[in-house]
């Protein structure tokens, strides 16, 4: 969408060929093939159990696929760990945790190395720059246990970003955030993709907060996936084929509602029972 000339595979930052994952006898992902370009913001959407987290683990090299091939910048995920930034789901530090915002970010820079850090001006400057970039400079010395959810998410983005990754994976970064913090995090992650050229995979159960920012959507259901622009993918016929039964897509006031999915049952059943 942003860079149409980049469709050649050699340019792909992330490439999956016919990837399948079976966990405990259950097929979680099946025949998954797609490739992502540099600087692309891709929203990963799907009902619970559709394999969203498993997909992230495959890219992180923590889950070995049973079949197919995963390439990160032409390398195996285990060899390419340095190229992948990761913002895990739910980081809820204890209020008394002796860890300042800047220390949390620093872990992304050299937390994997043995020994103590001896500091140094260059290291400090890098941390400052990362803090400023996510607009966290004013709370750099605050203990992380006393920050709001949105402030924490920005730090986790900085922690992932400071290692200069080519791909950033975010697992439900918008969960438990108020609307204003959601907007802040979404626009920040949008800048990660579009200004820094990092390919973003953002997992969320609600696509609406990222509608204006994402370039493509990866819709997962029943172990299958559809990848494309929102207009191409989030359609009744496409999603019905994916789910294997009829679903409706409704657009109201610029928001998209998918009706008839397992996730939406609690929402719709109050009306369908009546």
């Amino acid at each position: 969408m942003r860079n149409p000339a980049a469709d050649i595979p050699s340019d792909a930052v992330l490439q999956l060929d016919d990837v399948g994952v079976t966990l405990g006898g259950r097929t979680v992902l099946e025949g998954l093939s797609f490739s992502l370009r540099p600087g692309e913001f891709v929203g990963v959407i799907g009902p619970n159990g559709a394999g969203k987290t498993t997909l992230l683990k495959v890219v992180l090299g923590l889950v070995r696929p049973d079949g197919g091939r995963v390439l990160i910048a032409q390398q195996d995920p285990r060899a390419a760990r340095r190229l992948v930034g990761y913002v895990p789901q739910s980081f809820t530090p204890d209020p008394d945790l002796p860890l300042r915002a800047r220390d949390l970010v620093a872990l992304g820079l050299d937390g994997t190395r043995w020994g103590f850090s001896l500091g140094g001006a260059q290291r400090r400057a890098k941390i400052e720059e990362a803090l400023r970039w996510v607009d966290a400079g004013h709370y750099a010395d605050h203990p992380v246990g006393r920050l709001s959810g949105g402030e924490l998410q920005r730090l986790l983005v900085a922690q992932a970003l400071i290692a200069e990754p080519r791909i950033m994976l975010l697992d439900e970064p918008l969960a438990n955030l108020d609307l204003r913090s959601q907007d802040e995090v979404v626009s920040l992650v949008g800048r990660v993709a579009h200004e820094r050229g990092v390919t973003v995979l953002l997992v969320t159960h609600d696509m609406n907060p990222i509608l204006g920012v994402m370039d493509r959507i990866l819709y997962l259901a029943q172990g299958q996936a559809a990848l494309g622009t929102v207009d191409d993918v989030v359609r009744g016929d496409v999603l019905s084929r994916l789910y294997g039964h009829h679903v409706d897509v409704v657009r109201v006031h610029g928001r998209i509602l998918v009706i008839g999915t397992p996730d939406a049952e609690s929402l719709t059943c109050t009306t369908c029972d009546a």
């Binding site: 923590l62 760990r81 990761y86 913002v87 789901q89 992304g108 050299d110 043995w114």
Partner: protein
């Protein structure tokens, strides 16, 4: 006061106690910070009890209890770590290793009391007796302490990462399992050394107490380690001084146990850190 200090330092048993106690305290405090952060105080306590079985065995064959404490403690720690990976599994694994070793320990302590017809050995193993520790133990204690502290220095950054942000650390390739095992070795050394000072049953107090207060007061993990080591050192020194002073106290004029004073001081530190105003709240206002 100065005459008290002079008499305190004049006694060879007390100087040895102060020397060994200081090394043990610093190690225990520094390692204890991660025990608090990783919520492993049950494992820490279990290691003290497990080590007492080794100490009893060492006592029986005429070795210094320290060697029994540490060798069995390290093996027990690795067994706990190897048996349980997830938090719930670890809890159960700790319980199983603990009961097994305590069962064997009960037998050894029974044989010990039957053989020597005195309760000195078991009491000093379970409740500690820093004044009766052989001064020659100072060298091995120094070497073990150094090993544990160097290990903590080496592990520091990945251990902070794996402890505070485990999912991200694992994704970045931090060897979480190896770190857990190496930390267990440092933990076993710290706990078993504390057992020498405060006794197997009370070694947790020295491990957890100063560290819990330091974690509350410090602004970074490194700062917490230094603060915990300092608090722990003051606790042991004050505990030894009070125990020495208590030789003139009733009922027996034989001195109260050091472990009693240490536990009371640790409790005071803990309560103070919980009741006191948190300095970091003030720091935050200044920073804003």
């Amino acid at each position: 006061m100065s005459s008290f200090l002079a008499s305190l330092l004049g006694s060879p048993a007390v100087t040895a106690a102060l020397l060994i106690g200081s090394m043990v305290a610093v190690t225990s405090g520094a390692v204890g910070v991660f025990v608090v952060l990783r919520a492993q105080s049950f494992a820490g306590h279990a290691l003290g009890d497990i080590g007492s079985t080794g100490a009893a065995a060492a006592y029986l064959v005429g070795l210094a209890p320290l060697y029994g404490f540490i060798s069995v403690g390290v093996i027990g720690g690795l067994a706990i770590e190897g048996l349980g990976n997830r938090a719930r599994e670890r809890d159960i694994a700790t319980g199983i290793v603990l009961s097994l070793m305590l069962g064997v320990g009960a037998l050894l302590l029974y044989i010990l009391t039957q053989r020597s017809n005195a309760t000195g050995g078991p009491v000093s193993i379970l409740f500690g007796s820093i004044f009766t520790v052989d001064p020659r133990t100072a060298l091995p204690v120094a070497l073990f302490s150094l090993a544990a502290l160097l290990l903590m220095l080496l592990l520091y950054r990945p251990l902070v990462y794996a402890t505070l942000n485990p999912q991200a650390a694992q994704a970045r390739g931090v060897p979480v399992t190896l770190l857990g095992a190496l930390f267990m070795v440092a933990l076993a050394i710290a706990v078993e050394e504390s057992a020498l000072v405060a006794g197997a049953l009370l070694s947790t107090a020295l491990l957890i107490g100063p560290a819990a207060a330091a974690v509350r007061w410090a602004r970074s993990v490194g700062q917490a380690m230094v603060l915990a080591a300092a608090l722990s050192w003051l606790t042991v020194i004050a505990g030894i001084a009070l125990a020495y002073q208590s030789y003139v106290w009733p009922p027996g004029h034989r001195g109260w146990p050091v472990s009693f004073f240490i536990v009371m001081l640790v409790l005071a530190e803990y309560l103070l850190s919980r009741l006191g105003r948190r300095p970091r709240v003030i720091a935050r206002k200044e920073a804003t």
